[in-house]
């Protein structure tokens, strides 16, 4: 916030910084931002919930993002998503009760040449098959610390 001179236009940048540091935005963080940028909490909350990129829920240890962009859709990403849903009993946006795996859908990851694509903990996998995706999730769920 200091970097942006505590001005209200820095709101989105500030929220990005918080989310990349803590993984998600909670009410406490939003209150803090509102206080420092001298904005009503409603405005901060409104912005945080308007944009899909911001999440108010903590993510699991591992995150799987399935792309549902047009090219991926045409090339079978709904099948990939369905396989993951069936296997993990998650619907998009949810995290397993043991907080291990979160399932997220994306509008377009911009690597349509490799459709269908998904990312596993930020690593991009192209031309993905349903079995391959569930295999990865199984690996995560069974991994003991």
């Amino acid at each position: 916030m200091r970097h942006h001179g505590f001005s209200s236009e820095a709101l989105i940048e500030t929220l990005h910084t918080i989310q990349s540091t803590f993984g998600y935005l909670d009410l406490e963080a939003l209150r803090f931002v509102a206080g420092n940028l001298r904005l009503p909490l409603s405005r901060v909350y409104g912005v945080a919930t308007f944009y899909n990129f911001f999440t108010m829920k903590p993510q699991g240890e591992h995150v799987c993002v399935v792309c549902l962009g047009t090219a991926c859709y045409i090339k079978g990403s709904p099948d990939v998503l369905e396989a993951i849903e069936r296997f993990s009993h998650l619907t998009p946006g949810e995290t397993t009760p043991d907080k291990k795996v979160s399932l997220v859908i994306a509008r377009c990851l911009g690597t349509c040449g490799l459709a269908p694509v998904a990312t596993f903990d930020g690593e991009l996998a192209g031309k993905i098959e349903p079995m391959q995706a569930t295999g990865k999730i199984e690996e995560w769920l069974n991994f003991e610390h």
């Binding site: 709101l11 940048e13 308007f50 047009t70 045409i74 509008r107 040449g113």
Partner: protein, 549 residues
Amino acid sequence: MNTEELHQIAIDEQTRQRQYKHRLFVCMGTGCLAAHSDQVKQSLEAEVERRELKGQCQIASGGCQGLCVAGPMVTVEPQGTLYQHVQPQDAAEVIETLDQSPIERLQDRTTESFFQRQTKVVLNLAGRVDPERIEDYIAADGYSALLKALTEMTPAEVIEQITASGLRGRGGAGYPAGLKWSTVGKARSEHKYVICNGDEGDPGAFMDRSVMEDYPHRIIEGMAIAAYAVGADNGYIYVRAEYPLAVKRLGLAIRQAQKHGLLGNNIGGTSFNFHLEIRMGAGAFVCGEETALIASIEGGRGVPRPRPPYPAASGVFGQPTLINNVETFANVAQIIARGSDWFTGIGTEKSKGTKIFALTGKINNSGLIEVPMGITLREIIYDIGGGIPNDRSFKAVQTGGPSGGCMPTEYLDIVVDYESLQKAGSHMGSGGMIVMDETSCMVDVAKYFMEFCMTESCGKCVPCRVGTAQMYDLLNKITHGEATLDDLAMLEKLCGMVRATSLCGLGQGAPIPVLSTLRYFRDEYLAHIVDKHCPAGVCNITAAERTTA
């Protein structure tokens, strides 16, 4: 920095490059990185080290070659050999054979036409410039156009050149860039802004990502020239947060340009000042709309507002603002450097230059292409794209994203320019081009886009917020075999209403996928409604529903 200093950097860099007998460029685009091109680069470097060839052979990072399915890709200069599907264990063989004939195994003759049929203007340095080094760009004549504009041309002459070039906005609408620039130029205000719209929200399109990743300096140069022409002193590049590599490279490029005195105060030793910042989007499709984008830059919810006033009169912080798309700015430097006559030599009468498309879907050579305006869809799909996989037949090509239309076989021979695509019921859009074959259901595709528009609607105006949801419900009924002909009539009525009464392009464009599929594939809709059958076998119409019908 003045022209002589810039020239000196270019000469130094060219000399440095010439001392190498071979230069190998490993693609570091998102697509090739996903195929672990970074490991390929490491093993090539290790191999060069092992053979003590460091002084003769350079291993560099390069940009995207377009054919992401064939990654990781490595270009060998000066021969110009292009290797595809290179694996780390191939490194020894690649280095071994540098002075011999290229390795057959790593080349693919079937994709030759993909590369030969393109005309590269914006992407002309493809793969041979390290996007993270400003010296590479300067050695390729980078920033010479900016200094030429600053020292040899008046702002009015710059605008005149852009107007004469016939450059039109590459974001989709095709508004003449020169006209927009002169409107902002004429506006009277102490501060003006230049914004680069890099919020590529259109699903199935990734041209701007690639240009931002590979040519960050070209965009900065284009924006600086624009700022000089319209009299702006501040600028923003608005990038999607989903493109972390683009954000990183643009940030790096801005710092490099500042260090070299090509951004900041007194650029090129003149009195021209231009300060540039990155603003990250946060996942809202509607922010590609210019007034929503402005709201987002100001730190608010990305909600559009009625126009006029247009951003050219009142944009960011109420000041006159020039907004152009990434690809539009990427064309500017070369128009100034090579002159508008050169640019008007490419393309058709009303659409000049080239257009970058993201060619994806059911197509063999899926990837990023740059073609001259006026090429036919058939040439793109069959010559460059290599046709449809598995010998299936072509059904339709979709351009323009969620507000574009599908064109069937009989339109394969139309030329690609703004007017022809519009006449065919679609539009140029930002450059997504998705090919569908007989296994794609057009009603399902229309439903997909409607679902997209419904969830991305910002909710400000009623026609878009409520209308898209109603249209989605109707399409959903059709794909489940539960609809009647009355529902279809209602859908068509809603299309017209939402199109005519929505506030911004999102709502106005939302019915277009439905209208265009209805225009060309009405029989498919009827098959779902009357016969309770999905011809492509995509929609799950169960036997139970069929018997009750």
